[in-house]
Amino acid sequence: MDGVTAVTFQSLLYRFSAWLVLAFVVGPLVVIVWVAFFANAIIAFPPSGYTLGWFVRAWQSDAFREGFLLSLKVGIVASIASLLLGIPASVAISRHAFPGREAISTILLAPIVVPGIVGGAALYIALLAFELATGIQIAGTIWGLLVAHTLIAIPWTVRLVTASLLRVNRSIEEAAVNLGATPLVAFRRVTLPAIRPGLVAAVLLSFVVSFIDLEKSLFLVGPGQTTLPIAILNYLEWNLDPTIAAVATVQIGLIAVALWLADRAVGLTRIF
């Protein structure tokens, strides 16, 4: 009887701590979304009423609208660029044994490990050195942002595409080649369709990590080139009203949809 009680108590404890963790993670998000609809300009609980006005106001703000559009643009271009660079890298890592493969695989995943602010500073210095040597300015232009965000996205792309490639049965590629397809045609006609869910997930996830990046972008934005997270940071320096909550709510919604689609495509929990 004691045994039964102990087991029940234990499982209750586990359940309780699981809910506690979830509350810690989700709680602040719920509050932000709630605040976005408050009628009063000064955040106070409980609100005197509810409105959609802050969403309109956020969109009318140049900083937020331009920031949102720039983040969207950079996110889309960077995720596609990282896919185009990531696919060949993933093929090399998953299909060919070559000296230094482990090293390259580790280096490609390094940006996940290096703190964003360090990576951002490093890239900034590198771009300045490039500018001094060639006279071509990249830092402070949209190109600098695109390079940085592609770098942010590549580890995730490589990770997802490599995992997908490793699951493809090699003999279907051999079957295609045996039937007369060149290796390239076999890859396009047989391998790519087989890993399509992985590619979709890679694009979506790359988009998300680019869309939320703050640290790397901080060094690289220039006049009129402000991404949404930086616009939020700038606004928070001087203001605290539900506009910021409305912007954050849009951001949370967009990310949630992208991650949900990515998970449906490959089942992210199987890869991470």
């Binding site: 049965n169 279907i172 051999e174 079957a175 007369g180 397809a181 087989a194």
Partner: protein
């Protein structure tokens, strides 16, 4: 259809010779089985013929063409994989038509030939199914149709039946054999299953450690294995080491003198004796040239078969197996029984010790 010629074909991986100088001539329309245990080099040989593994020595000819350095997509071989390897995102017709599409055949002609190809494997109604909707046997027939529709110069079968259950395997085996005969296909089958190889092939090539151990018709290999390895592989379970004498006898290491039909120069060899050729009796008959008495060490009832291990006084153990036919009830033995075993002179063969 074409002939296939392997000349001193080798493949080395680091210090390991996976295939060590295989030479083989396969005639047009001939069905050859590469037979051997895993790691004997049979699959490596097949993959070299398909072009997926580059030989480190020797040459491969298909028809009049030397294809040793020809890339796999230009070889025109039809390969059927053990795991079927159907394209999961294409339907049956798409799979079967893929090779024709790669050859630039027109749409109408592809449709016509795909239909004929599916008819041939009795899957005409399945053209629009996806591979995952088919059973294992159906998938394998699609794979076969896909390989045949391109009219390959040689059909290559890589353990095509090993993922199927026993009954389906026999059906599929007969189907492959009759298609091969009807179309006159030059065919190379890789298998580790000697029954399968004997049932379909015109010629068996038994391989061991990267080399050909014996080539012959199924009957030749079965009746007259040349080495201890081949005899063991095809199921000869009594392999007794000893020395042959010039007087038509063979002296076992354990001392027994066995009468053998063949007279050979004196040398070390192995006596190979099939378990089904041994007669087990309750007492000596005095009628056989080779007759030895001992005790049943173990007796196993296998349903249609009875199996005995008989230990002779010298310690030598013989394995006997015979059909559980009617009338044998009285002569069923148990462990510990004193029995005698006998066999005709011609039943035993002397083979090389490898």
């Amino acid at each position: 259809m074409s002939s296939v010629r392997l000349e001193d074909l080798s493949r080395r991986y680091g210090r390991v010779l996976a295939v060590a100088g295989v030479s083989l001539d396969i005639r047009e329309g001939e069905f050859v089985a590469l037979l051997g245990p895993s790691g004997c080099g049979k699959t490596t040989t097949l993959r070299m013929i398909a072009g997926f593994i580059e030989p480190t020595g020797g040459r491969i000819g298909i028809g009049t063409r030397d294809v040793t350095r020809v890339p796999p997509h230009q070889r025109n071989t039809g390969l059927v994989f053990q795991n079927y390897a159907l394209f999961p995102h294409m339907n049956v017709a798409g799979n079967v038509g893929f090779g024709l599409e790669m050859r630039g055949v027109g749409k109408a002609e592809i449709d016509r030939r795909v239909k004929a190809g599916l008819d041939r494997v009795r899957l005409a109604d399945y053209a629009h199914r996806m591979p995952r909707e088919l059973s294992g046997g159906q998938q394998q027939r699609v794979a076969l149709a896909r390989a045949l529709v391109i009219e390959p110069e040689v059909l290559l079968l890589d353990e095509p039946l090993s993922n199927l259950d026993t009954r389906l395997r026999a059906d599929m085996r007969d189907e492959i054999r009759s298609l091969q005969k009807a179309l006159g296909l030059t065919t190379i089958l890789v298998t580790h299953d000697q029954d399968e190889a004997m049932a379909v092939a015109d010629l068996l090539v038994v391989m061991n450690a990267g080399r050909i151990a014996q080539i012959g018709t199924p009957a030749e290999v079965f009746e007259a294995p040349r080495t201890r390895f081949v005899a063991d592989f095809i199921g000869v379970s009594n392999l007794l080491a000893g020395r042959s004498t010039t007087q038509g006898s063979f002296v076992l290491t354990s001392g027994e003198r066995i009468h053998v039909g063949e007279t050979k120069p004196a040398r070390d060899a192995v006596l190979a004796l099939r378990p089904d050729r041994l007669q087990v009796m309750a007492r000596p008959s005095g009628q056989h040239a080779n007759e030895w008495c001992g005790r049943i060490r173990s007796a196993t009832y296998l349903g249609s078969m009875l199996e005995y291990y008989i230990e002779l006084p010298s310690g030598t153990t013989l394995h006997a197996r015979h059909g559980n036919v009617q009338g044998h009830e009285q002569t069923r033995f148990q462990a510990g029984d004193a029995v005698c075993v006998a066999w005709p002179e011609a039943a035993a063969r002397l083979v090389d010790a490898d």
